[in-house]
Symmetry: C2
Subunit: 190 residues, 2 copies
Amino acid sequence: MEALEQKILDEGTVLSGNILKVGSFLNQQLDVGFLLKMGEEIGRIYKGDEITKILTIEASGIAVAVAAAAVMGNKVVFAKKNKTSNVSGEVYSAKVHSFTHGTDYLITVPKEYIKKSDKVLIIDDFLANGNALIGLIDIINQAGAEVVGCTCAIEKGFQGGGDKLRKKGYRIESLAVIEKMSAEGIEFRR
Amino acid sequence: MEALEQKILDEGTVLSGNILKVGSFLNQQLDVGFLLKMGEEIGRIYKGDEITKILTIEASGIAVAVAAAAVMGNKVVFAKKNKTSNVSGEVYSAKVHSFTHGTDYLITVPKEYIKKSDKVLIIDDFLANGNALIGLIDIINQAGAEVVGCTCAIEKGFQGGGDKLRKKGYRIESLAVIEKMSAEGIEFRR
């Protein structure tokens, strides 16, 4: 998505530790007008595919998923990163290693919100090592539902998580794939 | 908002500890079509008011804020509940006591995302004791910006947080105010 690549070049900052800061529009500040354009692009990618639910993960993933759902008309379910006291009943869970924070966490989704008949599109903000996606796919598999595809706004292609999942046969359609990045510049995959 | 009151009656469950579970549309599952209707209602409430930014708090608040921003055209900033390694630079912070989890946490917003000239609408999913709102108001005050109003989807009126803030002169416009609730039923404020 060319407009997203331009937005990353205009507003993104590369920090040490392979971190791309896009807090001005995708993370801590949300440029909702732009998110809706990303939602339209996601709608175009999956036009003709039957999707019954969008699955994402808190916190920044929620914004992208809600923007896509506003265009596509689906319900969104988000995985929580900790089991909290107001999640009652049985949950699906998976362990995820966080690249950004260097720790493991448990993601949970109440069983009632993913049915065996669901055709699920996974949406997240970033794809790096793919660990969050693997956890979300695991949860969809536990439910016996179908993974239609995974779309992340920004894939850090050089970290290999997306390609590893593509090799396993998953449909990974990121809106922008970064091939190389440093303080000197950002290069996108063509 | 009558449609929201009906939705709470249809899909909400009252759990012990004054918890209202509305996970099917507002928390872990997001009925985005309905959230957009709530966004339209928020747009009607603040029609004629100058608002430059919407401030919310992760995680469920993000969905309501993005839905409102999709209608109103504003940017959203969300407060994080912990300082994370990819928040660089200076942040505003406030301590908040969580009613649901019984613990204190620190909320942070990067200083660059709230300017002195901002006229800020606060949006959240729930208003109970008002502690999250007090923390968010504190952050807006630290920035020297203006609090236009606070809108939460569901106010648990019997916990008093909303009325306490109204007495202090803040404009608190919740979409549904619960006066009484128990396993037997839910009563709304008229």
